[in-house]
Subunit: 333 residues, 3 copies
């Protein structure tokens, strides 16, 4: 592991080692794996769970996290190379990454898409820029994927079902949200669920809501290697039927990327994708989760959120443990 | 002590123990009472003293504070239960409080009123929401009361007058400020001064500036139990005459809550409530204090602020010591 | 050393001791010089390097930094004395400085000019206000000078040329930037370069870009004491010819201070002051540096920034080491 940008970059053994180590940290939180080491957490977008869990995780292992918010309490940054920088940006990523690398031992980066042009956003250039110029490991704190969330989700599922998740029926369901959101967690859920060998259904309103071909391709590759399956469905009842896991997320339809006003009347037709008790009753006594934040009674009902089937809080807690495992692994390098 | 929401929730023994422990921390700052423990400081409003003193207090006891500002660098939060969350809020307090409870060992909350409808603000629903859903202790960092300020104030008075404050003449005086402010510190001053058995005068321009009946009731209850007295006065000279303590604060008149334009011409008539040398000369060589921040030459003159009678800086310092006592007590649970 | 406001306040021995100690911290980062001690970092303006390096520096020495941003997550502050505070400011510097002094062991302050009236900004009243009222040492994090940058720069030059820099030819060159910027780093570069006995050329487009007489005077004083020289030049080729060090910075012309629209067409004529390979080829195989942030291909070309002659990243790293030396020295007092 040079960086932690996507779980798909990890070998099966590296992934397994992170999940095992995370469970160990959950049982025994204190450590000295980051003694004298520092991490910069660079947030281009707001954060509650990620910021708190990384800051505390570093501290619990003897390290220190510095939280930076470029454009809020630091400088706007240029990511293109070779430009004449006569616009807003006062500094190039080359300098930011190199200077931070002199101060800290690893750099975490959160940078959501700009939601104007998917062909640009899908290049993930902020994260890639840091990974290119930093001389220390870079961690993805959510850009167009969210691998820390994947690990937390996987750990929560292992806690419910045991470490071998092969053969479990997993539904990733689109849910309604008034705004068109990032596909990052959906991309990540699809990636990790297939990686772990589950029988995965991507349930979404129409073919326009299928995910980017890069992540669909990763999922197919994973199925081929791990022995699960992948299907896309627009049939709610069929998808929920017999499911062991229901994972919900809302996202914008990629064909309408940057043209969200046109997508709005379409998405507004699918408010009934909300996760409710009737749908959960179709499952195999399945668990429900979501990455949070979640709009209650929009994405899922109060009854589902407050039911014993809901493992969203457990998954959120696991962010702390898995991220400590990631930081400790990168510190070992 | 399950939470630290109001001093009125504490037994006499609990209150005394906090003040004794605070004095001990003032004499000997370092400790390990929070070793390996973390506190989240959730600020819905700006802070200088509270944030600095809690962050350092946690650190001096071996713990770590995470500073969060929902709506600034985290998500807007929903506090009503059962709503369809299709407005601005991306997350419900139930999830925020439960998730934070998995990461930290206590949660501090600052949430000022919205100043539109007192019948809503007086429910203190942000603080109550955290206290309801969190599974760890919650600390009031100022909402519609300010109990940490009460303890700091009480410690500063004990340092001047000794631990037994019964029989001291205490004046809580309204002062002018160009804006209608929160009643929190006034509510708290009335509460703690009567609790400690002092003879308390609430000096304010007109009956409209009397405080909410909840806090007037607490004060009467305290008088009955602690043996002091309580009166409301609109006569500056009579109120200051023979006072041992003058505590100043500005606040908006509750009958005009949310209708502040109508209150403005009234408050503007009472600029002469400023604490000045002439008024202080009427006291029994009394001390002056204020919770800070204070507009010089509006609430109190430079001469009063810079006089030996002023214990506001001492009181501000005491925030650190009393809050360490609160955190240590909650960690003992 | 009571405070660290300007290097010009330091004796030659104090300056030398700081640079020696900084080099020691660079070789061996951990220490306990700030054990149990805290520093408040008060940022009235954005920061990346300064905030990260001070926060980590304090932590590496066993201390703790609290980062405050008045007007963002704390109160607006009044700096005039005797005013009736009925404007925006909720608090006077006297209280802010005195209260912070009760919580922390030193206070760092960043406060850029307001760029309206140089006769006001040159009084440096925010920094001076803190230094006047604080009862603990105050550190300049960049106001109208930037002494921490001076030390980092000096250390980087000593690393390249050895500790004795006398006789080196040093060029401080104005460079183009679309906006009129602070003269702080230019003032500081002139101050430290002359202090260290170098032969200094201030290269700028016109006499209007010469620096404030206070700093020109410091430079002349330094030349008299340290045995270097000082000249002002508007001839690019002559200035670069044979230079050992090229230090670049953009700043606004003081005669146009607050009247920047009138300066704009003048500065726009001098885009060719960009540091490029052709100019660097005129030097004595000289090094290039800049305080960062730097707009690539505006202030300096990609080729210069990415050349081995560029020591800007080394200088940025040195911020950490020199600031630890400053904090440790102030903690020794």
């Amino acid at each position: 592991m040079k960086h932690f940008l996507n779980t798909q970059d990890l070998s099966r053994a590296e992934l397994e080692a992170l999940l095992v180590r995370a469970a160990e940290f959950k049982a025994s939180p204190a450590g000295d794996q980051l003694k004298g080491r520092a991490i910069a957490l660079v947030f281009f977008n707001a954060s509650l769970r990620t910021r708190t869990s990384f800051e505390l995780g570093a501290w619990q292992l003897g390290g220190h996290a510095v939280v930076l918010q470029p454009g809020k309490d630091a400088w706007p940054i240029e990511f293109e190379f070779g430009n004449v920088m006569d616009g807003d940006a006062e500094e190039h990523i080359a300098e930011v990454a190199r200077v931070l690398s002199r101060y800290v031992d690893m750099i975490g980066v959160r940078a959501f898409p700009r939601f104007v042009d998917w062909s640009v956003d899908r290049e993930d250039r902020v994260l890639r820029g840091f990974a290119q110029y930093a001389t220390v490991p870079v961690i993805n704190l959510e850009t167009i994927t969210h691998p820390c969330q994947e690990l937390a989700h996987a750990l929560a599922l292992r806690e419910r079902f045991g470490n071998d998740l092969r053969g479990r029926k997993y539904v990733l369901t689109w849910t309604y949200h008034p705004k068109a959101l990032n596909t990052a967690v959906a991309n990540s859920a699809l990636t990790i669920a297939t990686r772990l060998g589950m029988d995965v259904t991507l349930l979404c309103p129409t073919p326009d809501y299928v995910l980017d071909e890069r992540y669909m391709g990763w999922a197919r590759d994973n199925v081929a290697e791990s022995g699960g399956s992948l299907q896309v469905s627009h049939d709610i009842d069929a998808a929920y039927s017999g499911a062991d896991v229901v994972y919900a997320k809302s996202w914008g339809a990629l064909p309408f990327f940057g043209n969200w006003e046109a997508e709005k009347p379409i998405r507004d037709q699918y408010r009934h994708f909300i996760v409710d008790e009737a749908k959960m009753a179709l499952t195999n006594n399945g668990v429900f989760s979501h990455c949070l934040p979640l709009r209650r009674n929009v994405k899922a009902t109060d009854a589902v959120m407050d039911s014993p089937a809901c493992i969203a809080i457990e998954e959120a807690e696991n962010r702390l443990h898995v991220q400590k495992a990631v930081m400790a692994a990168l510190a070992d390098r």
